[in-house]
Amino acid sequence: MTRRVLAVDDSPTIRSMMDVILTEAGYEVLSAENGRDGLGLLDVFSFDLIITDLNMHVMGGLSFIRHIRELKRYESVPVLVVTTEGSEEIKELGRSYGATGWITKPFEPEKFLGAVNRVCPIEEPKAESG
């Protein structure tokens, strides 16, 4: 089962990096440059994971998360917040809006995938075969 990820960030650089990292890891990735466009995609597609920046034009990350959590389909879909500072305040704030976890920018690809893997691993691991 392919996992589909929505990556939302206003920086084209970060978007394309997330896209490449996740696609190479086997995820299917769609991206948007702000929360409003992200919501549009949520409406049309279904996603297993949402990754979003906080500080964006048009609709920032926090409002985006609030809107996501108001959607029945996405009530408990993991949402990771991408933050630059990774300060406790921001993390707590994100959580209070319903974020699942966070990724600190600039991210190393392995750490990034590690965080993704903890909330939305790519596939069911096969039963131990010794």
Binding site: P12, T13, H57, L62, S76, T100, W102, R118
Partner: protein
């Protein structure tokens, strides 16, 4: 391993936009704007530049942007007030940042440490003086990687009771167990004590707790990282066999805790946290212009990034379509209109659609002149500083749109004109005061669309042009005869003559003039015109008139011999059929035409291009064009075929450059017509432009081209 190089292109493109936006915000601040969203926008631009730099490991950019960002963070949160000094610092930092990015992009080297003094000043302004370079680096994303891992496996004991509602927030404990398992040997014991009776079970809640024994070579960081997202709201403890506790949430172990903690945060400490959070939310929400969706500032929000090449291709194809249409049109005559009225009607529709398609496509490449106007305030500030004058720049009509290809070429001439206005137009402070003028000089830069052309004006309120001096120089330089009768306007426009501004004494002239011929040539290359008007003591205005695009041009189609040429309509003064007595010969100029009480040099295209077919033609027509500033020449042709909008094609791709030919176009009948470069033709006069004897190496002969 992720190949970072693949993101360079998109990053530098992003930087270009971000720097553009940042500069606009800084200029707005300089103009006195105090709106929060201006500061916020500046912060965001720096923030994004830093973010990308960190991701791509451009360390210098990242470290520098970090300090710059910190300042704007302080300003946007109101902890630091923006003052003129900080603004100047920001502008300096902006320049440095742009330089660092450009250097990274081109692979050129900026001396290490050359940004340090600005960094220090930024830190000082932010109050982060103590921050070490190490912290800079960490902030810029240079994690001190490679925490030494123990070689021998270590046994961790982990007690984990997730929050009951952790699933609701998307945290699936199962995935965490899986991630733990990936680290080494894992023994799992589930604690089912928290399970309620079956009929009370909420399928979305987590009731289980786990005890793990993990034997792994992974370091403690890697182990605790697994629980990063849940450690705050679960009961978690991680210990090593020697008893060292690497993580404890202070909630003493796993058991005897009510399973529904965290559900009622309404009082006590929780209430306090909430208040704090609300404050933080407010500040972040303020910084998040969510609610400003309807405001006019939508930078990239509704745009698509398209490679310029693709747009150019589209423009070309539409150009071809227009040509194809005119080909079709040539077959529509009155008889056809009578016999097939419906077809004729459809063709009219076709024409309308084709034209609006062309307009729409051209609009894709159009850009507001703001993109270049925005660079000028800094230029003015720098120049004012250099010259010790006080100058204010006013801009008007920044949202006027011109084709991107024109915009790119407009920047240098504009810089030149503004430099001239400040260097030579605006008087020194004392002089202005003595004259009773306001001490601060004003330079006005304006743009507007007039018909199918863009008019850009640079005016100053300086002392205007010293006409006597200009005239004198022109005579000295043999540019005009001493007894030439010239109007004030004509005298002023002498400064555009090539050679005028090479005069040594010019920088001493109390007028303007340095390099104005350069401006003129550049603008003319764009198919534009330049003129200047000046009022002694009151100032001067330079007016540029430009086509909206460089892709199509209005031209007069003429024939000479076997060749068809296009003369840019912008250059044409008059076309006439001369009476024999109007044509004469001057010893040093060859054939001349008497035109408006002046002698105008005549250029025969057949002679000029060496395409003489030998057949003398008595029915000569002369098109009088403006070749150089104010100087006319007459182009002798045999027939005028009409006036048309033509799509300009470059010849240089397929043929080497031909002197006197600016490009080519394909006519409705599929034939090639050559677009004349009248400036060059005017300069070379009757010398053969393309005679075989005078050919430059690699130059193409006209006959080869149209053969």
């Amino acid at each position: 391993m992720l190949e970072l190089d693949q993101f360079r292109h998109v990053y530098f493109q992003e930087c270009e936009e971000l720097l553009g936006s940042l500069e606009i915000q800084l200029m707005a601040l300089q103009e006195g704007a105090e709106a929060d969203d201006v500061i916020q926008e500046a912060f965001r631009a720096i923030h994004s530049i830093k973010g990308g730099a960190g991701a791509l490991q451009f360390r210098r950019i990242g470290a520098f942007a970090h300090n710059f960002e910190a300042l704007f963070d302080k300003i946007r949160s109101g902890k630091t007030a923006l003052n003129p000094d900080l603004l100047i610092l920001s502008l300096t930092a902006f320049d440095m940042l742009a330089d660092l990015i450009a250097a990274e992009q081109c692979g050129s080297e900026i001396k290490p440490g050359s940004e340090d003094h600005i960094s220090e000043a930024l830190k000082e302004a932010t109050g982060n003086q103590g921050e070490s370079a190490g912290e800079d680096r960490a902030a810029a994303g240079m994690a001190a990687s490679g925490t030494s891992k123990p070689v021998a496996p270590v046994l961790y004991r982990i007690a984990f009771r997730p929050s009951p509602d952790s699933l609701k927030r998307g945290n699936e404990p199962l995935y965490l167990i899986r991630a733990l398992k990936a680290l080494g040997n894992l023994t799992v014991t589930a604690d089912q004590d928290g399970l309620p009776p079956l009929d009370e079970i909420d399928p979305q809640a987590v009731y289980l707790a786990w005890n793990f024994e993990l034997e792994t070579v992974a370091g403690p960081d890697a182990v605790s990282e697994i629980f990063e997202f849940v450690e705050d709201d679960s009961d978690l403890s991680i210990t090593t066999p020697n008893g060292a506790e690497i993580f404890d949430d202070g909630q003493s172990g796993v058991s005897d805790e009510a399973p529904d903690d965290g559900e009622s945060p309404e009082n006590g400490q929780a209430g306090e946290t909430k208040a704090k959070l609300q404050g933080a939310v407010k500040s972040l929400e303020n910084s998040n212009p969510d609610t400003k969706e309807t405001s006019g500032r939508h930078f990239g929000a509704t745009s698509v990034r398209v490679d310029l090449d693709r747009v150019d291709r589209l423009v070309n194809m539409v150009g071809e379509l227009v040509i194809a249409y005119s080909t079709v049109l040539q077959h529509v005559d009155d008889r056809l209109r009578l016999t097939h009225p419906q077809l004729a009607h459809e063709l009219t529709q076709f024409l309308q659609h084709t034209q609006s398609l062309q307009d729409s496509v051209m609009a894709i490449r159009a850009q507001p002149v703001r993109t270049i106007f925005a660079r000028m305030p800094r230029l003015v500030r720098d120049l004012a500083e250099q010259t010790g004058k006080r100058v204010r720049l006013k801009t008007k009509g920044e949202s006027t749109e011109i084709d991107k290809t024109v915009i790119e070429k407009l920047s240098d001439p504009l810089v030149h004109m503004i430099r001239n206005a400040i260097d030579h137009g605006i008087e020194p402070l004392e002089e202005r005061q003595a004259l009773g003028k306001p001490p601060e000089g004003t330079v006005t830069l304006s743009a507007e669309q007039v018909g199918g052309r863009i008019v850009i004006r640079v005016s100053d309120d300086g002392h205007g042009i010293d006409r006597e001096r200009v005239r004198q120089v022109a005579v000295e330089k043999n540019l005009i005869a001493p007894d030439t009768n010239l109007s004030d306007e004509e005298i002023e426009n002498l400064i555009f003559l090539p050679g005028f501004s090479t005069a040594q004494a010019l920088s001493d002239i109390s007028g303007r003039g340095v390099g104005m011929d350069i401006v003129y040539q550049n603008i003319q290359k764009l198919g534009g015109r330049v003129s200047i008007r000046s009022e002694p003591g009151r100032g001067s205005t330079v007016t540029l008139t430009l086509p909206l695009t460089l892709a199509v041009m209005e031209g007069m189609i003429v024939r000479s011999g076997d060749y068809v040429y296009v003369i840019p309509l912008a250059n044409i003064i008059q076309s006439l059929s001369p009476r024999p007595e109007e044509i004469g010969t001057l010893p040093d100029a060859g054939m001349v035409l008497r035109f408006r009480d002046e002698y105008v040099k005549l250029v025969d295209l057949n002679d000029a291009f060496g395409t003489d077919c030998g057949a003398a033609n008595d029915n000569q027509l002369i098109i009088v064009v403006e070749a150089d500033a104010g100087r006319a020449i007459g182009i002798v042709v045999e027939e005028i075929l009409g006036q048309e909008q033509v799509v300009i094609k470059s010849l240089d791709e397929n043929f080497s450059h031909i002197r006197g030919i600016a490009g080519a176009t394909i006519m409705g009948d599929g034939k090639v017509a050559l677009i004349l470069d009248v400036t060059v033709i005017g300069k070379l006069g009757n010398k053969r432009l393309n005679a075989s004897t005078a050919r430059e190496p690699g130059e193409t002969k006209l006959q080869e081209l149209c053969a």
